[in-house]
Amino acid sequence: MDEKILQVSHLSKSFGNNVVLRDIDFSVNVGDVTCVIGVSGSGKSTLLRCINMLETPTSGKIVFHDKDITTRGFSIPSYRAKVGMVFQNFNLFSNLSVLENCMIGQRKVLHRNREAAEKTAKEYLEKVGMAPYINAKPRQISGGQKQRVAIARALAMEPEVLLFDEPTSALDPQMVGEVLDVMKTLVSEGLTMIVVTHEMAFARDVSSRAVFMKDGIICEEGPPEQIFGNPEKQETKDFLSRFFNH
């Protein structure tokens, strides 16, 4: 399982004079579940958004299956079809029903026919427990349900990597549980995932690798046992103590 799927090297991103990411090196193997933790503003989300090219990196390379996606002329849309993304604010298409949300990408990007798209969409909606709600519009369902639909929408594209950008931060505690349950199922199925999260218990128990970011750099990374059990850097200790020592 050591096949590299994503390799980020010397990635930097600045918004004007504000440097958000500094020289990030980072790679993901097939089947890895990488949790990215750190305080707000440390650049976690920006890193994830750069990986999906929602932000254009200022410098550096992102290599996906031996191809540099930051080169001019690289087809970003077809890359994004293979790298799913789940957002903090769900970003479900509010003009479409739950079922259509999970079908539109398959229909328009993967050019599947209606029957196949509907079948796949329903399979994934069932996996996230949203099968009964296929006729609902996003505004009619709760936050946790929206996020589960958003996960199904991403899964319906059958991506190789799934990126989660603080998927539970906009949810109340009860709904956090239902979303994390779905994510745990995905982990157990061996999906490659990068999860930016503030759910420390989830990161500790579920991830295969944890990355701690601070001030736009990767401060410490390693297996979760190391990061959460015996961190080397003082910054990591300080950050984690705020979560676990009270």
């Binding site: 999906n52 929602l54 254009t56 930051t70 001019r72 849309p77 077809s78 890359y79 994004r80 079809a81 293979k82 799913g84 993304m85 957002f87 604010n89 769900f90 970003n91 479900l92 298409f93 509010s94 003009n95 479409l96 029903s97 539109i104 990408g105 328009k108 990007v109 079948k119 329903k122 399979e123 069932e126 427990g129 099968a131 009964p132 709600y133 296929i134 006729n135 609902a136 519009k137 009619q140 958003a150 929408r153 991403a154 594209m157 009860q174 956090v176 549980g177 239902e178 994390l180 349950d181 218990a201």
Partner: protein, 267 residues
């Protein structure tokens, strides 16, 4: 007074009705095509250009934006009555008589469409801006291209948001087509001018005109409200409890209570 109106109506109702028909047809067609022009401008204006694009593409995008900008400023910033004269008489003048409008309806239609398009271009741009950026990001994240994102996700929502604007434009067009008498197009107001020219009955004719315009605009408002309601869709939805996929897979485990229990155990 009442008797004058009745007299005028019985004598000239054919002309009045003909005028109303022309006015409504012109306003509807002009607004519809104007909306299409506006949509096109709106979409073209929002094509994103990034640093990694090649210079040729960047140049054309810039050029396109400048052209649209000029179009909007010129047609929004000059009176439609002058535009009508300018286009209707200008076309044969410039081409030395080679090209001219064969029908006044066509000329009127072109003028109203272009004028409405200029206003709609801005409304559509506003409508597109009003759609949450997250919608675009969601569409991009599943691999949709700019035009796909626009057509399937952003525009349907933007259109809903600008429906009141479209209604506004339709109603303005119903009234403002009255200036097209300047090129001799006989819509509702031109009929009024013709009728008072022969009868000299200004007030009774104006009363009929007022009622006629009000009827057209009010009916359009009602229809537009209805369309907006339709676009909003039903507020309820039905749960699909029996789903053949769910049944065959046999792993249907929705009940929420169970999930909560699991969550408590974790903490």
């Amino acid at each position: 007074m009442g008797s004058d109106i009745v007299k005028l109506w019985t004598e000239y109702h054919r002309l009045f009705l003909n005028g109303m028909e022309k006015t409504i047809v012109l306003a509807l067609l002009g607004t519809a095509v104007g909306c299409l022009i506006g949509l096109l401008c709106g979409i073209l204006q929002t094509i994103p250009s990034t640093k990694t694009d090649n210079p040729v593409k960047k140049f054309f995008l810039k050029l396109l934006r400048v052209i649209i900008r000029i179009y909007v400023e010129v047609f929004r910033g000059t009176p439609m009555i002058l535009q009508a004269v300018f286009i209707y008489y200008g076309l044969p003048y410039i081409t030395g008589g080679d090209a001219r409008f064969t029908s006044k309806l066509l000329a009127a239609f072109v003028i109203v469409s272009i004028n409405t398009g200029a206003y709609m271009a801005e409304s559509v741009r506003g409508g597109i801006l009003s759609v949450d950026l997250g919608q675009t990001e969601g569409a991009k994240s599943i691999g949709m291209r700019h035009f796909q994102t626009m057509f399937y996700i952003v525009l349907p929502q933007a259109l809903r948001n600008i429906m009141p604007q479209i209604g506004n434009n339709l109603i303005i067009n119903i009234k403002d087509t009255s200036i097209l008498f300047i090129i001799g197009f006989t819509e509702f107001f031109a009929e009024f001018r013709a009728i008072v020219g022969t009868t000299n009955m200004y007030f009774p004719a104006a009363t009929i005109e007022m009622i006629g315009y009000l009827l057209m605009t009010v009916i359009c408002s009602i229809i537009l409200r209805y369309v907006e309601k339709k676009m909003d869709g039903d507020d309820s939805y039905s749960l699909v409890q029996v789903d053949h996929l769910t049944m065959t897979a046999g792993t249907y485990n929705y009940p929420v209570a169970k999930k909560n229990d699991q969550k408590k155990g974790e903490r």
